[in-house]
């Protein structure tokens, strides 16, 4: 049966990864009809939602982990995967368990997670530090300490692209790393405004202030342009998710030699479980409905997980697979994952609306030196207070 699958994996590596999914699905005797639309969030999501609400849904669609599809489910437009999950014991195999939790609404499972992307990485240019004459830092504090030397050498210490999501992303990474998982949860999961106003978080804002100072002069927009500053040694480092690694690879750089990756900023080796999941709209066609279940099962199967995540450069959602071919940094990630040092991502914890407000705040904070950390924290507290 033909099943149309929409997703926003379009770049070279991503497409290759999708091909693995398709191959596995086609092997079941069905056919994967590809509906790729680049540009997550703003671009792809309204399209998918329109298709679903317009009464002409696709067979399956990618969303980020988290609460993006909540309302579609509540509107009764999505298929629950309870049967497949039951049969294939998803609750046991899928690790970390939070992944499946965010697929669960009112006790039913509505999505099949496929990979884990983590945000908590600091990418460092070895060449830049060499030029500045300081050792490659091992953690955030060393990095901050090295900043003046870098600046003297005409190097931007920290590259931060202009897009809003990059700044708030970096802030959250700093929070997890410096304040720790529990405090992170207090703020984002419990939405504890009082706590957010407290000294723990003030510390985080101080660090963000450092980051802001260090990022001055990175006149780029796109994240990969910022990464490119690191690759070319014009910048010392960048806080960016594991997808940045692709850029280093394409540029022919080798982890450890040309660049260094510090998960959890080298302070607190915890990674978040961002990532993608597939949702399945309710279809009238019997055969297609069956194919949907088959697809769900294929997506989670160990073989597909290995093949897919190797190509994608992300981590698998189950602990029972073996990723020998993974590179250095990825292995670091796997280790952390294996240790269970994971934290739910903000996508899972907060509504997109609140996240957007936080994005706006940090976007402004990073660009506007006259905004004190105290002011920023005050506004942050307000957002947390009203967040959902």
């Amino acid at each position: 049966t033909d099943l149309e699958v929409t997703h926003w994996w379009t770049s070279g590596g991503e497409a290759a990864a999708v091909a693995e999914l398709a191959k596995a699905f086609d092997a079941t005797g069905n056919k994967w009809v590809d509906g790729a639309i680049a540009g997550s969030g703003g671009t792809a999501r309204p399209i998918m939602i329109s298709r679903i609400t317009g009464g002409d849904p696709m067979g399956a669609t990618q969303f980020n982990h988290g609460r993006q599809a909540e309302e579609l489910v509540q509107a009764g437009l999505m298929r629950d995967l309870d049967a497949v999950a039951e049969r294939e014991k998803w609750r046991e195999v899928i690790k970390p368990a939070s992944l499946l939790e965010s697929c669960t609404i009112d006790g039913h499972i509505y999505c099949a997670p496929v990979n884990i992307h983590s945000w908590q990485w600091l990418w460092l240019s070895n060449a830049a530090f060499e030029k500045a004459g300081v050792a490659v830092p091992k953690n955030w504090d060393e990095f901050v300490a090295a900043a003046p030397a870098l600046e003297k050498a005409g190097i931007i210490p920290l590259a931060v692209g202009g897009q809003a999501w990059q700044t708030s992303g970096a802030f959250n990474v700093i929070m997890v790393a410096l304040a720790g998982k529990d405090n992170f949860y207090k703020v984002y999961k419990d939405k504890d405004a009082d706590f957010a106003a407290g000294p723990e978080i003030t510390k985080v804002f101080k660090a963000a202030d450092d980051a802001r100072r260090m990022s001055k002069g990175s006149n780029v927009q796109d994240w990969n342009q910022a990464t490119n500053l690191v690759i070319t040694g014009k910048a010392g480092g960048q806080i960016m998710g594991d997808w940045a690694q692709g850029e280093f690879q394409v540029a022919g750089q080798v982890a450890g030699k040309d660049y260094t990756c510090l998960p959890g900023l080298g302070v607190n080796e915890i990674i978040s479980t961002d990532g993608d999941a597939f949702y399945f709209p309710l279809l009238k066609d019997e055969a297609k409905s069956k194919a949907q279940e088959e697809l769900a099962s294929v997506l989670v199967s160990p073989k597909t997980q290995v093949a897919f995540n190797l190509k994608k450069g992300s981590l698998p959602i189950r602990g029972d697979v073996d990723l020998n071919a993974a590179n250095d940094c990825m292995k670091k990630g796997l280790d952390i994952l294996a240790k269970g040092n994971v934290v739910e991502s903000t996508n899972q914890l907060m509504s997109a609306d609140s996240q957007k407000q936080i994005e706006d705040l940090f976007s402004e904070f990073f660009a506007n030196p006259s905004m004190t950390p105290e002011d920023a924290q005050k506004r942050f507290v307000d957002i947390i207070a009203s967040a959902d």
Partner: protein, 300 residues
């Protein structure tokens, strides 16, 4: 004879029947889509709709939130500056180019296509190119500095104070070609005799344009004005492709606020509230104008 004297006015509805039939699409679109859609939007702006429109009314909460959001305030300011300059410059430059094209020049077609091509290219990428060109590291600034003028500074996209003007540069680049085309079409409608009369009267070229030709082109100018203005109000791509609203929120615009909150933040209510505010502003300007334009005189 008696019958005819009393032959009354025929049914009003049936007069101009063809015109009315031909206007059905317009009426339908105006009523169902634009009026209906607007009412729909306004209604949902009083709800807390998130991903999907849902009728859970929350009063004017969305509006309260809107008017305390710093980003919205900045957006409005930016739109005012950007709008004013775009309007003035694209009309002036567009008309200047159109007037030049109308001088019976050689290669008119080539020049016209050159001025118009930016309009044809998707702004996702041309925005990136402008981002490069205006980038101080490898754009114009670096070229000029490498020529020896080392203190030269030109980084409009990375300076919060002037970023909106940087966007203006690219905006004009993209939009003036179309303005030129519109005005050129208008110029081509001017009767040659008018030019002759002006030449005999000894009226210099620029005054002929200013006082005779431009007034004659009033309808075209109105069209152009509406096109430019609606482009300004809806400006989005331009900002996204060049600065994503940055640095910080320095180059945010209202339309972007609307989209971001509708689709990224999944807060339809907030997006609708913002777009309702935009619509109210536009209506405040347009309705009196329409009244003046259509209210008085009748034709044919």
């Amino acid at each position: 004879m008696t019958g005819q004297t009393y032959a009354g006015r025929p049914n009003k509805l049936l007069r101009n029947l063809n015109a009315k039939i031909a206007s059905i699409p317009m009426i339908l679109v105006a009523v169902v889509i634009f009026l209906g859609g607007t009412i729909w939007t306004v209604v949902y702006s009083f709800t807390n709709s998130k991903l999907l429109p849902r009728l859970k009314f929350v009063g004017i909460e969305q509006y309260e939130r809107l008017w305390v959001a710093p980003r919205w305030i900045v957006s409005i300011e930016n739109l005012a500056i950007y709008g004013l300059f775009t309007l003035v410059f694209s009309l002036v430059i567009g008309f200047l180019l159109a007037a030049l094209m109308d001088q019976k020049i050689r290669f008119e077609n080539t020049f016209r296509t050159i001025f118009l091509y930016p309009f044809a290219l998707s702004f996702i990428v041309t925005g990136l190119v402008w981002q490069w060109v205006l980038n101080p590291e490898f754009g114009i600034q670096s070229v000029v500095r490498s020529l020896g003028w080392t203190s030269f500074t030109f980084d409009p996209l990375y300076n919060s104070e002037i970023v909106i003007y940087g966007i203006l540069i690219a905006g004009l680049w993209q939009g003036t070609g179309l303005v030129m085309c519109l005005l050129l079409a208008g110029l081509r409608g001017i009767d040659e005799d008018i030019w002759k009369a002006a030449r005999v009267d000894g009226i210099p070229m620029w005054r002929t344009y200013l006082f005779i030709v431009i007034p004659m082109m009033r309808p075209v100018f109105i069209t152009t004005l509406v096109i430019i203005a609606s482009g300004i109000v809806r400006v989005y791509d331009l900002v996204v492709a060049q600065t994503s609203g940055g640095p910080g929120i320095a180059s945010e615009v209202p339309a972007k606020y609307v989209y971001d909150y509708m689709f990224q933040a999944q807060n339809l209510g907030q997006g609708f509230a913002a777009s309702t505010m935009m619509l109210i502003t536009v209506s405040i300007i347009i309705i009196p104008w329409a009244y003046l334009e259509f209210g008085g005189k009748k034709r044919g």
